[in-house]
């Protein structure tokens, strides 16, 4: 047994809702914990935190783009604006892990760029390694961002835009922003790849570099296709410089504008429900594979259930999980699944 005792989830929820930093930190640790008893506790914590807030309050912002584009620097600049407006901010900074055969370690180096040196009680940064999960964003990011949403007005998720993470971020954030590096191959690759459909806001950073930035901005404006997209949103392309603090206010205003747009058009609730089901889908897929997911009605089915029942995603996940377990068990009693359920414990040396 490990010595660290688990917190009481109901009490922890109360403290998180009160905005206690220690509780937020403790809650995030709990959500990250893979031990069976911790997972039960985490589920209870999330259940007591969940509610209407998760469907229509706060603002979940996703920032993505190639490494070095200046995502963290821009997040820093935006935090300045949000804090001036009196809003509290939680940040989840997601960095890549090295491959498992190379130890799976990670360097979490975003804090240094995101935080200016002053002490600020209204800002909370947690760095997280993506741990190679399906090549995309770690599954923990969903519940962690919800937990932060219970405590902060704004939650920013920074992810390095490589491959799957860019797609994942669209399943997490209310507003997704792509930060482009002027004249970089990454951005050109991005424009070609089709995932350009994802972001709601584009930023071309380092406009202090001049012509290269302007050229990239016009390339993006030209290639952002309009069909199939929400009609009354204009997908702004902002030329900014995080270090010279240029264009930041206008850029920053786009986020509020987009959030208001989602509320006005009643898109937010549906978006959040879809994101919640994306997480349920991810969990089910991890645990039961594609077959299990199909048995549960696929992504569409899960989305429908979540929307219709207006239940929360944890209850829904538990329900489906139990259902699947019983089905698997009845087919194949000495199930490998039963063992899998307890597999965490064997690690407790």
């Amino acid at each position: 047994m490990t010595r660290t005792s688990l917190p009481d989830p109901d009490q922890l929820a109360v403290r998180i809702l009160r905005g206690e930093r220690a509780a937020v930190a403790g809650g995030l640790n709990l959500l990250d914990n893979k031990l069976a008893e911790a997972r039960n506790c985490a589920a209870r914590l999330l259940a007591s935190l969940s509610g209407e807030r998760w469907l229509n309050e706060g603002h979940l912002v996703g920032i993505t783009g190639p490494p070095g584009a200046g995502k963290s620097s821009l997040v820093c600049a935006m935090i300045r604006e949000w804090r001036l407006a009196g809003r509290s901010v939680g940040v989840l900074a997601v960095d890549p892990s090295s491959r498992p055969e190379l130890g799976g370690g990670a360097l979490l180096g975003d804090r240094i760029r995101i935080k200016n040196s002053s002490q600020d009680e209204g800002l909370f940064i947690r760095s997280l390694a993506n741990r190679n999960q399906l090549g995309g964003v770690a599954t923990e990011v969903w519940p962690m961002s919800w937990l932060m949403l219970a405590s902060f007005d704004i939650v920013v998720i920074e992810t390095v835009g490589v491959g799957q993470t860019e797609i994942d971020i669209a399943d997490i954030g209310d507003t997704v922003c792509y930060v482009a590096q002027p004249a970089s191959g990454d951005t050109i690759q991005y424009l070609k790849s089709g995932i350009i459909e994802i972001p709601d806001i584009f930023a071309v950073n380092k406009c202090d570099l001049g012509a290269a930035a302007r050229k990239t901005a016009s390339e993006i404006s030209r290639s952002a296709p309009r069909q199939d997209r929400r009609e009354d949103w204009d997908y702004p392309v902002c030329l900014v410089s995080a270090t010279m603090n240029a264009g930041i206010r206008e850029f920053h205003e786009q986020f509020d504008r987009h959030r208001k747009y989602l509320a006005r058009t009643d898109l937010l609730r549906g978006l959040r429900t879809r994101h919640q089901s994306a997480w349920v889908v991810r969990l089910l897929k991890e645990e039961f594979g594609t077959l299990g997911l199909e048995l549960a009605g696929g992504r569409a089915g899960i989305e429908r259930c979540l929307g219709d029942n207006a239940s929360n995603q944890f209850a829904e996940y538990e329900r489906i999980r139990k259902h699947l377990l019983s089905r698997f068990m009845s087919v194949n009693p000495p199930s490998s699944l039963t063992r899998k359920e307890h597999s965490d414990e064997q690690a407790t040396v």
Binding site: T2, R3, T4, K34, S98, L102, G103, L107, A129
Partner: protein, 672 residues
């Protein structure tokens, strides 16, 4: 023309890098050193002075007078040079971000003593570029820093013509792990950036530009591979001659000479069997004196107890005597260049020049040294080189006598004394300095101070040279913190990339089971037993800029599977504890080499407790004397590592065990 010269050459300038506690105590030390035959002064400033804080700033707590002399205002400068004639002295100041200010104080003092600034000679190090890469006492972003360098050059060329306004440094790059080629390349790129900036300022007439080029001198390192180092210095000279001619069109060969001072390598000086350091120092000194064509103009040597702590006067005297024996007893100075014509030397020089040119082109193609610093490229290269060096020491490929081989030793009488064989700064110095500063503030004319500072801010904003207004500030009694803060308000502050995001080294996988693979298993299994992957915070509290240890620990920890948070140097204990909380780490590892470990570690522990994090184990590493390590243990620090613990794999195994213990798991023990 191999020949014995009829006349012995003049020896180089002999200095001892020193300063501690207070201006008064340092002045006494300087005067004794001069009496022992030292021919120039080399001032070591304390960290608050170097980073532009007053002695009573909360950020200066525990650092005042520790690793150098505190200079808060012109009266301190006056006391530091009490009974030392400024017009006859050659004074080298290791000062960078606040170089313009210390120079202003020195010039202001000369004016007050009725001495013509034109007679002043000496050096301000004033290479802020390498501060971002190695030395760590930067304040402002690169743009304003370059501007400050240019301002001091433009000013001294006109008004203090014998002054060396900047010393382009490759010394500190080697101390951060650079290879000879990297040293050559990055120092020369820096020199070009500085000269280009001065040119662009338009303050110097084109006809006078060669004089500016002539004023650029270098501060170089010499390591234990002394043949290669000797060649490196010849290479430096050849590239500089060529560059000044082709890029800056300086025709007069005298103005194109590569002038440099030296401190020999300290990174390779060891804590175990410290007496061996004497041999190392002497051999390294040979590298920069052997070849007449590439001989140093000034030398300062570290002491035998370098890796233990600050040297005492006797230790410094010993180092000075090494120089004197070489200069006055040997026949070295009786000959012309003894290496000219050697094909072996010529080939090595050529190889180094080619390597350096390639890397210079590489940096230039990235937009020059500033861009390559901002992007993190150069820092990553340095961290990578240092990592390779440490790996070679761990594996035994690079032999360090007394450390990874020939460890057996008789007891050393040198370290037997009751003082721990190191100098300890006066613990009362901090309060003394604060009292002096507060008294000084009440004595000055506030209106003058305000007007002078306004003048400084106006100049900073308008682009006018800041030297004249800084001298006005000096004479008005402005303090170091006031000067620094005024410019912070205009220029902002900067934190450079940490360079630890280097590509993971996969030489050690490839199916081979070695210590690293074993460590990866331990880290992974401990993580799953605790419930989540092991997360480590590497923290550098205080003003200490020694980042090597922290960087290498962070890189190795990542390589063995830790998730590592490292935010760079110069953080407060509050910031570190807050990061530990927000990040939910399993361990906090502090690295402190500034001598302020007792204060800083206690503050961190206190801050952690106040955040309910008393259960998170804290370990510490750096220059920590054994008696202090014991005290830290009783305060709750779980482990203390010092330079003798050169094997990072062993440290990692130990760290995993500490985490296991703190989480109710059994220790695994040493690696196989």
């Amino acid at each position: 023309m191999a020949s014995v010269q009829s006349k012995r050459d003049q020896p180089w300038l002999m200095r001892t890098y020193s300063g501690h506690s207070s201006a008064k105590a340092s002045n006494t030390l300087y005067r004794t050193n001069l009496a022992k035959g030292q021919t120039g002064l080399s001032v070591a400033f304390d960290l608050p002075t170097q980073t532009g804080y007053d002695a009573d700033s909360p950020l200066a707590k525990g650092e005042v007078g520790k690793v150098g002399v505190p200079i808060s205002h012109i009266e301190d400068m006056d006391q530091l040079f009490d009974q030392i004639p400024l017009d006859q002295m050659n004074t080298s100041m290791t000062i960078n971000a606040t170089a313009a200010w210390m120079l202003a104080l020195y010039i202001g003092l000369a004016q007050r003593r009725g001495i013509d600034p034109r007679t002043l000679s000496g050096t301000t190090q004033n290479d802020i570029i390498k501060e971002y890469l190695s030395r760590g006492t930067y304040i402002y972003p690169p743009g304003p820093s370059m501007r400050l360098i240019a301002d001091t050059i433009n000013y001294t060329v006109k008004h203090v013509p014998k002054w060396n306004p900047t010393n382009i440094c490759s010394y500190h790059l080697q101390e951060a792990g650079a290879t000879p080629v990297q040293e050559l390349a990055y120092a020369l790129c820096t020199a070009m950036a500085v000269l280009d900036r001065v040119k662009a300022s338009g303050e110097i007439e084109p006809a006078a530009f060669p004089q500016v080029v002539e004023r650029i001198s270098f501060f170089v390192n010499a390591g234990i591979r002394f043949v290669e180092e000797c060649c490196k210095l010849r290479a430096f000279g050849e590239i500089w001659e060529d560059l000044t001619l082709t890029r800056y069109k300086v025709e007069d060969p005298k103005l194109r000479r590569f002038r440099y001072g030296v401190q020999v390598n300290s990174l390779g000086l060891t804590e175990p069997q410290p007496e061996n350091n004497v041999q190392r120092i002497v051999l390294e000194m040979l590298a920069v004196t052997l070849s007449k064509r590439a001989r140093a103009r000034a030398i300062q040597l570290p002491a035998w107890n370098e890796a233990m702590g600050l040297p005492r006067p006797w230790d410094q005297q010993w180092a000075l005597r090494m120089q004197q024996v070489l200069a006055f007893e040997t026949d070295l100075l009786e000959y012309g260049d003894i290496l000219d014509g050697s094909p072996v030397i010529a080939a090595k020089v050529k190889e180094l020049i080619e390597g350096a040119r390639k890397e210079i082109d590489n940096v230039e193609s990235q937009g020059g040294i500033i861009a390559a610093i901002e992007s993190g490229y150069i820092k990553r290269e340095l961290v990578g080189s240092h990592m390779n060096r440490l790996r070679a020491i761990e594996s035994g490929d690079l032999k360090i006598i007394g450390v990874n081989c020939f460890q057996e030793t008789a007891e050393s009488p040198l370290t037997a004394g009751s003082d721990g064989a190191i100098m300890k700064a006066d613990p009362a110095a901090e309060q003394g300095q604060i009292d002096r500063l507060r008294a000084h503030r009440t004595k000055r004319n506030d209106a003058d101070v305000r007007a002078a500072l306004q003048g400084l801010v106006d100049a900073a904003k308008s682009g006018e040279n800041v030297m004249a207004s800084s001298i006005r500030c000096a004479l008005a009694g402005v303090s170091t913190g006031e000067w620094g803060d005024s410019l912070r308000a205009v220029f902002g502050e900067f934190r450079p990339p940490t360079g630890i995001d280097i590509a993971i080294d996969n030489r050690e996988v490839l199916g081979k089971k070695d210590q690293v693979t074993e460590l990866r298993e331990r880290v992974a299994s401990t993580g799953s037993a605790i419930g989540r992957p092991l997360k480590l915070l590497v923290g550098k509290p205080g003003l200490d800029g020694h980042s090597n240890g922290a960087e290498q620990v962070a890189v190795k920890a990542r390589d063995v599977g830790f998730e590592v948070v490292y935010d760079g140097i110069r953080l407060t204990p509050q910031q570190i504890a807050q990061a530990a909380q927000e990040e939910g780490v399993h361990m906090v590892g502090l690295s402190i080499l500034s001598g302020s470990h007792m204060d800083l570690v206690q503050s961190v522990l206190q801050e952690l407790r106040s955040r309910d994090l008393a259960g998170v184990p804290v370990i510490a590493g750096g220059i920590i004397p054994a008696e202090d390590a014991e005290k830290l243990a009783t305060l709750g620090v779980r482990a203390v590592y010092t330079p003798k613990d050169f094997n990072l794999n062993t440290i990692m195994a130990d760290m995993v065990d500490v985490i296991r213990e703190c989480n109710g798991l059994n220790r695994i023990g040493s690696l196989h």
